[in-house]
């Protein structure tokens, strides 16, 4: 495969890798849904999201559904590229590719 491989320490932190993996499967995921799937607290998830946001990997949009304010998270194209590259590098390390 001609995919890029690149180890990314920012993504490698356990919770962040899982955040990216989850976000990669959908267009957008709500903050609370992501929190429940990862089984972490609000504050822990917020902290990681902030780091990923600052790196430009994750985009946060607030929208209202039926008067309820919700925070939606999605992977930016840069974030998706970095995540894919990181997973490919992990695969290379375990000798899979």
């Amino acid at each position: 495969m001609a995919d890029e491989t690149c180890f990314d320490t920012l993504i490698h932190a356990p919770n962040r890798l899982q955040i990216c993996a989850m976000l990669a499967t959908a267009a957008e995921i709500e903050f609370k849904v992501l929190r429940d799937h990862l089984d972490v607290s609000d504050s822990v998830l917020s902290k990681h999201i902030k780091v990923l946001q600052e790196a430009g990997y994750v985009v946060l949009i607030k929208r209202s559904d039926f008067g309820r304010q919700r925070s939606w998270l999605s992977l930016s194209s840069g974030g998706r590229k970095a995540y894919t590259g990181h997973v490919n590098e992990l695969k290379r390390i375990v000798g899979e590719v």
Partner: protein, 160 residues
């Protein structure tokens, strides 16, 4: 931020990949539509192919195509809306190289079946309309069941 020199062991990398696989499995299970939806949408899809193949000037299968197309569209609208309220916006377009492959299979398989079944039916092989409809329904069911997120399970299985 990025380091090209590898500073983790194969075991650590494997553990990370396992975590990714776990999340992917979780996402697939969460985003897999319920059985009634899979059955109804596959049936509507098969019906679309059958109607399209059987469509002639002197019959009304064009109406069948329109109705099954509308049912198919409304079912997906309903699914999309339901998931959105539950906090997940489903992916509509391929976003990565690996998901492009999945969408290409859909396009190729169904494009070819749709067009081919119609050509052959028009030429006179009436049974091809039934076969095409069945292939579309079964193919759609299988693909949607296996890849609800539009992503292959791109995680290590060789070491399992």
């Amino acid at each position: 931020m990025k380091e090209n020199e590898v500073n983790i062991t194969a075991e650590q990398a494997q553990a990370s990949l396992d975590a990714v696989r776990k999340i992917n499995t979780d996402a697939v299970e969460t985003q897999r539509p319920p059985w009634w939806f899979l059955i109804l949408s596959s049936a509507a899809y098969g019906m679309m192919s059958f109607s399209y193949s059987s469509m002639k000037h002197e019959n009304t299968w064009a109406v069948g195509l329109i109705i099954s197309g509308a049912v198919f569209f409304l079912l997906f609208l309903f699914l999309y809306y339901s998931y959105r309220l539950m906090g997940i916006k489903l992916k509509m377009w391929p976003t990565s190289k690996s998901s492009t492959h999945i969408y290409a299979i859909y396009a190729l398989l169904f494009g070819v079946v749709f067009a081919g079944a119609r050509e052959l039916t028009v030429v006179g092989f009436d049974w091809v309309a039934y076969a095409g409809g069945a292939i579309c329904a079964i193919g759609f069911f299988t693909m949607t069941y296996l890849y609800p997120t539009g992503e292959p399970l791109n995680t290590p299985t060789s070491k399992q």
